[in-house]
Amino acid sequence: MISWPNLVSQLFNGLALGALLALISSGLTIIYGTLGVLNLAHGAMFMIGGYAGFVAYQYTGSFIVAVIAGSLFVMLLGVLMERVIIRHFYHRPHEDQLLVTFGLGICFVEIVRLIFSSQSQVVSPPPLFQGITNLGFMYYPTYRLAVVGIVAIALGALFLVLYRTRLGMIVRAGIEDSVMVDSLGINVYRVFMVVFGIGAMAAGFAGIVNAPVVSLTPGVGDDILVETFVVVVIGGVGSFPGAILGGLIAGEIISVTSMFNPGYAYVMLFAAMTLVLVVRPHGLLGVQGRE
């Protein structure tokens, strides 16, 4: 039953999902662009953000505190991970980096499973955004609308950090040529640590913001990670604008296809990725070079 309200509501769902994917993918892509490491534990970061926020929410009852606590916790975890392990992998082959982050991701998921069990945890939306909103032509869950707004603000903040600060300038320069940045007398390792923290925080933030939309399980990050990969391949690795564009495209494809048959959502997503790979192998907004 395809009707206009149905379509519009799916388009809104796609926007919400797309914005979320854009945020998570931005984290993944700036880490890869700057450090040259693809973090396969990124999905786990998303999941941990949700759980950390969930705990904070239970203790304080404040959703804002939950969002802040969840993001900060994941940022600290990211910094710790970079300092203790990732740092020793910069000069090792890509495969080793993939293996170690993959292993860490599994460890994180299993630790959470150990503490919270595999059962799903329900996080209710903050009171302000509960219920549904009448948009005039249709009714839509208020919190999903709020997600679009919250994530847009987060993306805006990330944009400001990347394009309007000294750190952002170094990060963008590092994506172009990290050796050169190093020889300009900037301590790239400290920058790497900060970038890893910010990238992880983006995933953690998305994790807690998304928690009221879906229920929390230890495996919630796995599917997201796969979708994030598609987003990054479509948008172009290392490109922040590419992550946003790719995220929105992927979100809409998943939502609109799900309206017809959810089983084909991934097939369509994959078809889109293949098309991009054939037409523009470096992604829609990616540049040739880094591989």
Partner: protein, 611 residues
């Protein structure tokens, strides 16, 4: 390692498989566990060829495992197919065909892109199995009732039931799988696989179509996965839908890394560790769900500290013990090798069309622009057959860019390159090398993880076998002329005594000579040398000039270098490049005394130096 005894590994495998049912029960292994380990091991044989040998880390092998498994299971349960073995083989072929199509897409990119794309593809298969194809695959119920294999030998019928009886069948499959895998990794194709892992750029440059070989490795891995998937259904009498999950791919990757990549037996060892720990931690220690966390931690520690996994670690240990003696012998040999006679020069490969007698290389109007920067502008350049040409010019004159255009590593913005009367503009570097034009690099591009001999073998194979050939079961020793060519090149570049040394352990000067040797082993008729003397000590320079003179017979060479004394001694004519243009062309004597050249090099701010 262990190369002296030809069938040692095969024999040991057979002995191990025969002994297993008598030994393993005492160690607490149930027959079903052993069978599962063998299925994982077989799955891993193909994956190790892809990951360990070719260096392509795929996180999507579940797609082929599931495809092979469900095709076989569907044939046996729904389609009324009676013969288990034929069903398994059809499943394997289906998986290999799927692998071919997926490989075409996934191999468009390398490195992390490849990993990401394979993950995404496997996820698609998972969803397709559950939804659009659930009529065929049983959706989340899987396909129950997969029969056990039985063989009618005419006089009697052998039934494999469960437990150790089924073990015989699976062990036989694994053994055949090992033999095939060993043949593949010891074949010329196997040698090229490791070249791709070590340095894809150079593998391309010496004349191998690496895309074709990568696809081959991908299809091989898919075929192994498909067969193993079918065996899983037979083993459990049920084809579970979770064969398609990401966890399956992940477990395979982890088992391979735990056991040791690039060892073929690593995945088997990894699976044994995995399944044993799983049973042990869950049952004996009552850890419940925490077993996976323990395995995850073990895995991370292994990746951090023992890159070669368990088998790799044992091999290192073995080498540490036996290595000291071997090194001593090698050192003695080096001393003997120092006073060697100069080997006969190596002939370039025969000219494809001997009738051609014009200049061997002719470039007209060659221009390369990078945005606003003009690296080369309107270069006209011609070299005669058998000529020795030098190219000099200040830094940034566009010499290396010019070479890259000649070997077709980069495409010129405009202009034309003709090699032996044939327009090669726009060809790929692999094709150009196959035609007989190659270069040695300014910065060493070697296969650093391999030995000197293996390096030269890879280059020689490109000439002897062409850019792509699927001789998967041929022994390297059976490639005609290969060992002669490799030995000859070794002697020419004076590395015979170091033939079995890892490239990473060579001294810089030796690496430089190997760099030239790699280009030489493809028997080019036109050899470009980009700063062959760079970074060498004065003594090494003298040696290398001698080497270059000896290989110059019967072939054309163009040499870029900054060491003008050596270069002028070596070459017949010199071309001077400046700011991307040809400044002058002449004999070394003319160049030496030319005012414009002196000005180009020394700056000549006021034009006084020229006077």
């Amino acid at each position: 390692m262990l190369k002296q005894r030809p069938f040692l590994i095969e024999t040991l495998t057979a002995i191990g498989l025969i002994a297993a049912p008598f030994v393993l029960p005492h160690l607490g292994f149930a027959p079903n566990t052993v069978n599962r380990i063998l299925v994982w091991g077989l799955f891993g044989l193909g994956f190790d060829i892809l990951f360990g040998f070719t260096g392509l880390l795929s996180f999507g092998q579940s797609a082929f495992y599931g495809t092979g498994g469900f095709v076989a299971a569907y044939l046996l349960t729904r389609a009324g197919f009676g013969n288990v073995l034929v069903a398994l083989i059809i499943g394997m072929i289906a998986a290999a065909a799927t692998g071919y199509v997926i490989g075409l897409i996934a191999l468009r990119r390398t490195g992390i892109y490849f990993a990401m794309i394979t993950v995404a593809i496997a996820e698609v298969f998972y969803f397709v199995e559950f939804n659009p194809l659930s009529d065929f695959t049983g959706g989340e119920n899987g396909l129950p009732g997969v029969p056990m294999p039985s063989f009618n030998l005419g006089f009697t019928t052998i039934h494999f039931t469960d437990g150790w009886s089924l073990y015989q069948f699976i062990a036989l499959c694994y053994f055949i799988g090992v033999i095939i895998a060993l043949r593949i990794v010891r074949s010329p194709v196997g040698a090229i696989f490791s070249a791709i892992r070590d340095n894809p750029l150079r593998a391309t440059a010496v004349g191998h179509n690496i895309h074709g070989y990568k696809l081959t490795a991908f299809v091989i891995a898919a075929a192994y996965a498909g067969f193993a998937g079918g065996l899983l259904g037979v083993l459990q009498a049920f084809m579970p839908p979770d064969a398609f999950t990401f966890d399956t791919s992940g477990q395979l990757v982890m088992q391979t890394a735990i056991g040791g990549r690039g060892t073929l037996f690593g995945p088997l060892v990894g699976a044994a560790v995995w399944l044993f720990l799983q049973d042990f931690l869950q049952a004996a220690l009552d850890l419940g769900a925490a077993w996976k966390l323990v395995l995850g931690v073990v895995f991370v520690l292994l990746v951090c500290f023992l890159r070669g996994g368990i088998v790799g670690g044992l091999a290192d240990l073995y080498r540490l013990v036996s290595g000291k003696r071997a090194r001593k012998e090698a050192e003695q040999q080096t001393e003997i090798g120092a006073a060697r006679p100069l080997p006969a020069p190596m002939q370039a490969r025969e000219v494809a069309h001997p009738a051609y007698s014009g200049p061997i290389l002719k470039a007209t109007g060659l221009t390369k622009r990078y945005g606003g920067l003009v690296a080369n502008s309107n270069v006209d350049f011609s070299v005669d057959q058998g000529e020795l040409r030098g190219i000099i010019g200040p830094n940034g004159a566009g010499k290396s860019t010019f070479f890259k255009m000649l070997t077709c590593e980069i495409a010129p913005t405009s202009g034309q390159i003709v090699f032996e009367g044939r327009d090669i503009t726009g060809l790929k570097v692999t094709e150009v090398c196959q035609l007989g034009l190659t270069k040695s690099y300014q910065v060493n591009q070697l296969f650093t993880g391999l030995t000197v001999r293996q390096n030269l073998t890879i280059a020689a194979l490109a000439e002897l076998r062409g850019k792509f050939r699927l001789d998967l079961f041929r022994k390297l020793a059976n490639v005609k002329g290969l060992s002669e060519q490799v030995e000859h090149t070794l002697a020419l570049v004076n590395l015979t005594a170091r033939a079995d040394t890892q490239v990473a352990e060579l001294a810089y000067g030796e690496k430089r000579r190997l760099e030239i040797g790699l280009a030489l082993a493809t028997s080019p008729r036109l050899l470009l040398l980009d700063e062959p003397l760079a970074g060498m000590s004065p003594r090494e320079r003298v040696e290398t000039v001698k080497l270059l003179k000896s290989i110059a017979r019967g072939r054309t060479m163009i040499i870029i270098d900054h060491d003008m004394d050596s270069l002028f001694e070596l070459v017949q004519r010199v071309t001077v490049l400046q700011e991307g243009r040809v400044l002058l062309d002449g004999t070394p004597e003319e160049i030496r005394t030319n005012a414009a050249v002196q000005e180009a090099y020394l700056g000549g701010v006021n034009g006084e130096i020229a006077a």
